[in-house]
Symmetry: C2
Subunit: 252 residues, 2 copies
Amino acid sequence: MKARDQIRTVGLFGHGAFGRLIVRHLGPRFDLHIHDPNPAGTPEFGRFCSMQETAACDVVILAAPVERLAQLIADIAPSLRPGALVLDVGSVKTRPAILMRDGLPSNVEIICTHPLFGPQSAAGGLSGLKMALCPVSGRRWRLVARFLGQLGLQVITTTPERHDRDMAMVQGLTHLIAKVLVQMEPLPTGMTTRSFDLLMQAIDMVRHDSLELFLTIERDNPYTKDVRERFFSLAAELNETLSAHDRALTTG
Amino acid sequence: MKARDQIRTVGLFGHGAFGRLIVRHLGPRFDLHIHDPNPAGTPEFGRFCSMQETAACDVVILAAPVERLAQLIADIAPSLRPGALVLDVGSVKTRPAILMRDGLPSNVEIICTHPLFGPQSAAGGLSGLKMALCPVSGRRWRLVARFLGQLGLQVITTTPERHDRDMAMVQGLTHLIAKVLVQMEPLPTGMTTRSFDLLMQAIDMVRHDSLELFLTIERDNPYTKDVRERFFSLAAELNETLSAHDRALTTG
């Protein structure tokens, strides 16, 4: 490893549910500087710092909601060190990649990431959990991918566009179906099939996710709207087919 | 056990996928008579017999599609023995219970059942699988429940109406969602979340089920139409809310 690859300080923007998970896993390995506009509690590792101190670290991680990303990038850009490595961790990648490429100095390296799990799944450890990684600029993404692999994560290297296309289906569909089914509760719990049990487990994993995340998935991913409308259109078609059958049975 | 409880011969109507599963589990314990209008292959246990011989057994199991049940009941009624125990195994229970109560002689006992699993789930054994049991007439349903428990099944005693209300949600929703999602394939397989993986597992369990079963669930269960329309109406509402957000973003 060359001297320039040495990473000592990590700056973390955002001490929410996911920020705290980052603290837990990076805290024992790096000198952690944390900034949050509304700092709450005491961090498990590291310490709360000013925006400038946090932005001046070797690695800077943006764990703020997607809609605050543009402002955050504008705020930290002047304080970043040349050669710094900047990563985000949001659920969409096309727009953050553009915002970061356009808004950050050209002498920093940029990697967009999306850990494909929530704090709930990570409670039992990171082993086997998936993480999407989109290299945007610089070469140290290979180093980061190797490090994440050492943490036990399964790293999937991709592009922001490919990520968003797949996630429009993966997250778009699960969250959409969950939102509808949660409104149909109470649903049966005793007399159930294995298939229904699996469906309920899928829903239980996303039902407590924030409205913010739901709106990020549904609106900030440029491909979700098409997936959603295709789902609704196929559902409406099926409903029409079945209603026609019902009418045939009634009048036949 | 009283002499009248002694069960020696079992008559099985239907040698389809589920009929063959019944043969596998009852064949080693009873003298099995099987009738199928289109007998195929050689049964694993027992032998193909005439409709009359099959109907004259101590226990008679109707494993024919729900839409053929009315005709089957009419056909076998004259050949049933007084005191025989007649069971069905279909995915809906309200209508079959009425058909059996109205169409079978009053000197037979009637139990409606619904094994809440397919041959695929039962490939690894019956242990822990659920089975709904609706006593319709007679007292030997307790004996049957105990026997099924000894096979490892988790028996849920209920009424046809309660069964159909719960299954309208359990099977109605899983099969409906599966039908729509299968039409959206190819869906991502690599870059996925745990929640999406569970959703896909749920779908894989029902995707190869017959169109016949789908129509039974969607049309022969008197409560499914309401569940379906509620799902579609909530989905349309959500789509409208999200589209309004999209418009606000575009024009805002």
